[in-house]
Symmetry: C2
Subunit: 205 residues, 2 copies
Amino acid sequence: MPDQAGGSTATESRREELLRIAADLFASKGFRNTTVRDIADAAGILSGSLYHHFDSKESMVDELMRTFQAELFAAYDEILASSDDARTKLERAVRLSFDTIERRGAEVAIFQNEAATLGASERFGYLAERNRQSRDVWVTLLTEGVQSGALRPDLDITLTYRFIRDTVWVAVRWYRPGGPHTATQVADQYLTILLDGIAKGTPHA
Amino acid sequence: MPDQAGGSTATESRREELLRIAADLFASKGFRNTTVRDIADAAGILSGSLYHHFDSKESMVDELMRTFQAELFAAYDEILASSDDARTKLERAVRLSFDTIERRGAEVAIFQNEAATLGASERFGYLAERNRQSRDVWVTLLTEGVQSGALRPDLDITLTYRFIRDTVWVAVRWYRPGGPHTATQVADQYLTILLDGIAKGTPHA
DNA sequence: GTCTATATACTGATAGAC
DNA sequence: GTCTATCAGTATATAGAC
């Protein structure tokens, strides 16, 4: 059977090309604000031709989100399964987020902006499930951190989880790869604030 | 001239009632995803009747955003003009955000979710202007904080501003008035993390 | 894999009666 | 202030030719 050199690869790459064009448009204009004609125009074809590759506009965003989430959670699993200490795991999870914003900015933006709306339909129920998984990851990391003595014992785990979850992803609104900061630099600054705060002096008294 | 008891007040309150219904729908479903029929249904009237009160759907969100921004920046101005010390001003600005989420959650959500899209049209150019004003407020507060010795001198002001700006508003995604936390409690926890960090021990060494 | 042509439904908005 | 009726524009999606 033909594999790498066959027609299948060319078909796949065209499909992925269209998916990438759609992702960028969904991310910048919003899913509902992006028409199939917008996508087709950007790809240099007519809107009807898109349906040779995809069932519907919804299928496109579905495929984008499934692929993205699978990749992201594989990375989370690797961190959780590692033998790093609690603080290192937390730092790695934070860095993973900023790294993901750099590599998969469109998908992050789509998930952040559309998950609530898309999640209303049954087809996207897995988005809510992924949200639960994500909460478990962060709560586990924070609990480990408190138990190991790396983090302050008086933390409200739930509120802290929400702050971290929100803040590590919201940078997708302004972060641009190739801009004045690298993802690593942003992660460094964020970790400094998150771990030690912005106040001067000796806190935690 | 009839004022409080006249027909004008009744007209105004109906208008505000419709505006409130629209705000809640725009906030939960998104501006583009909300049809004029949705708004009319929720108000118990037919879509055409809405146009007796408003020129267009766009006019509704425009009025919502203008009113909201005017109110918010009046509160910022009061903090800036006060004689409080730098750290108190910063704390007040943070608390103002969470308080605004509690009192004007729909408007905050609309602004957070739609400002980028709406801002593309000239009619909503003031949203970008308000964004600039907001940046000036936070940068001023942070700079004062560093100069007065209240904040760490090694802070990257621009990055710190972005983190604070994003994080004080993003809680609108999950905060619900009447839920397990008050806005004050959330602000307390957030300020603790922001000022002193989540790590145990003596940082800033 | 793309185009031509078009079905079908929805959307914001209007005009005039009540 | 709301309803009836409806228009014009736009949206997703389809069928079959090339």
